[in-house]
Symmetry: C2
Subunit: 417 residues, 2 copies
Amino acid sequence: MVTERIRAEYLLRTTGDPARVAAVIAGEQSSGTFVRLPGESDALRERSAARVETLEEVADNGAPALPGAHPDSAAAALRSFRMVLSWPFDTVGASIPNLVATVAGNLFELREVAGLKLLDISLPEAFMDAYAGPGFGIAGTRALSGVAEGPLIGTIIKPSVGLGPEETAELVDKMIEGGIDFIKDDELQADGPACPFEERVRAVMAVVNRHAERSGKRVMYAANLTGDLDQMRRRHDLLVELGGTCAMLSLNSVGLAGVAAFRRHSRLPIHAHRNGWGYLGRSPANGWDYAAWSKLWRVIGVDHMHVNGLANKFWEPDDSVIASARALLTPISAEAPRVVMPVFSSGQTIRQAHGTWARLNSADLIFCAGGGIIAHPSGVAAGVCALREAWDAARAGIPLDSPTASPALRKAMETFR
Amino acid sequence: MVTERIRAEYLLRTTGDPARVAAVIAGEQSSGTFVRLPGESDALRERSAARVETLEEVADNGAPALPGAHPDSAAAALRSFRMVLSWPFDTVGASIPNLVATVAGNLFELREVAGLKLLDISLPEAFMDAYAGPGFGIAGTRALSGVAEGPLIGTIIKPSVGLGPEETAELVDKMIEGGIDFIKDDELQADGPACPFEERVRAVMAVVNRHAERSGKRVMYAANLTGDLDQMRRRHDLLVELGGTCAMLSLNSVGLAGVAAFRRHSRLPIHAHRNGWGYLGRSPANGWDYAAWSKLWRVIGVDHMHVNGLANKFWEPDDSVIASARALLTPISAEAPRVVMPVFSSGQTIRQAHGTWARLNSADLIFCAGGGIIAHPSGVAAGVCALREAWDAARAGIPLDSPTASPALRKAMETFR
């Protein structure tokens, strides 16, 4: 939603008087100090203060209070509130870094706060003018990768680290021969001396290009160019020169200003890895909800974002994964949809295709499997075919174990249980 | 400490078999996937795998498990471990962004993890060659501000937002007349249309320069130039041109690659604000300890870092504040000390000088007061004098309420209780 004022929605937990606590938070994030200052007129406050727009009680999740919360949570019951704050645009300006200092600054540290999750953010149109948004998104990614419909079937080069440039290229060769649509570096593989970026990318792109010339299909290789900004720009330029079609970066490693600067430079789809998300989003007591956090990067302009996967190897429940993917596919506004492609990964096999389709009702996504392809007993090609067939079946409303299932899919069903 | 391998120390909480859990974490952050892959030889694993260096049980803090932790924490008791992992340098390289993807990546999301705090990081010398570190630090800040000993007495322009450029400059004028050493913008004040950076800095620097010409003392004004990278560089250049001596930025808003790029450009001390620290560090269950987090910025090269203050208005206990300040003042190594100046703020008055000195045994710090100066009944000059006198007394071992206390200090003692 595009709004006139900047708005942020929170899940607030407190043992204090909710109206007073909300006012303290709004004060801290606008004109706050602990004594009223000379020169701070009512007119000035009115012009610049944050406003509490909504404060309604919701069911409490029973999580414990953050340390240092007052009044003491042992003495009074914790209550939860959906709180919407708003700020005048003129005190912040159309700057994502300064927005973050405003909606996600000191407030998490207030003693009145026993828990605080930032759920969503709504921004004035000026932000959409200041940041270009995704340069490719779903349509651009499909055009570049030559996958007109259904998910891009992808893989991650594993082991994460240890392979040299040539070994990586050999694995890529095998994957492309097997019919993969998308290949990404692991986020741990960037530019270490054991597998330098330039050597790796030259070796890999030689393989990608050879196959593209033969088959007409240029497999999308997301090269992890995470690093300092000048390095990322140089790596991007090399990648473009070599015919690369995707730049991967670790969002929490690079940060907002770095990604925004890279976006202004980039001529490639940006594949955004969320590693580190656990320290931002896993605690029920404080931090970010994925919808709010991902919106920052969507406004800046990444093209793909990781959302984990159903029945993943991590802690995250399926509901949370689907909510994240839905958030990415929901337009921010009609004028500036800034939809990005969700990337499913982590322990994904043919077993997750039907569930993902059933719950998301979209195949505008990248479906990454590592072991789920390479562990297929008949080889990589069978592994890729089985995944694609599973997705086709899901989209056509055919069960996984239909009598029409191919031998490759049957073998996959035996292997991945 | 400078080490050969990259090392990271964690507080791990789990209900699982600790040795197995540590191995899972080390695997996830190096060669991990859920099936053993062809081509993944023992030699390759040995060369590239993360290693569990230390795993010793420590007293558990009794905090609840993170959601999704297995084995179910209801069925087994949570235990805490000090875990040190190490990585070969060659798989990562001397890159802070890629270091973060390695030591603070997916591991927080593992289901075996019921709690994980990153306590400290040790880096090979190559990181010190790749990043310049603080350009000014304590000595450079003292030289530029003309404060040879004792803390820099500082203030924050308040209200945080609402004042225009001229009103800001008037407040700065009053503060400099009152004898302040250091003035900073609020982190909420950057470049909004209501108080654009350029107009504000021109107005403020005219005042700073006028006083400097008269008195020979150039008060250090930390102008908040947080924004996108190109903006920050332009604002820096303007600030230098106008005779400014300090650049403030919000670390969590700008991010690692942005701050590193700014550091390479900057000719000014960098005043680093930590707003947003609450979502990284407040949860006892997961996230960062300040010592680990601040080390990243010290290696990159900021000069001042916020640490909150004793008896602050936020949740943080004094022990935690002092531990943070001590971390900043402890050299990383003899060759690369990268010591930065701690910034104390939040509800600070003459009441915190003795306690801060007693616990830190250092006055190499910036002591920022807002209301603690401006609310002094005899005015700003008396407010600044009282603070300086309180610190002088603390350093000389004289009690605050000594018979020799000046009228300004006596009045401050009546006002701030």
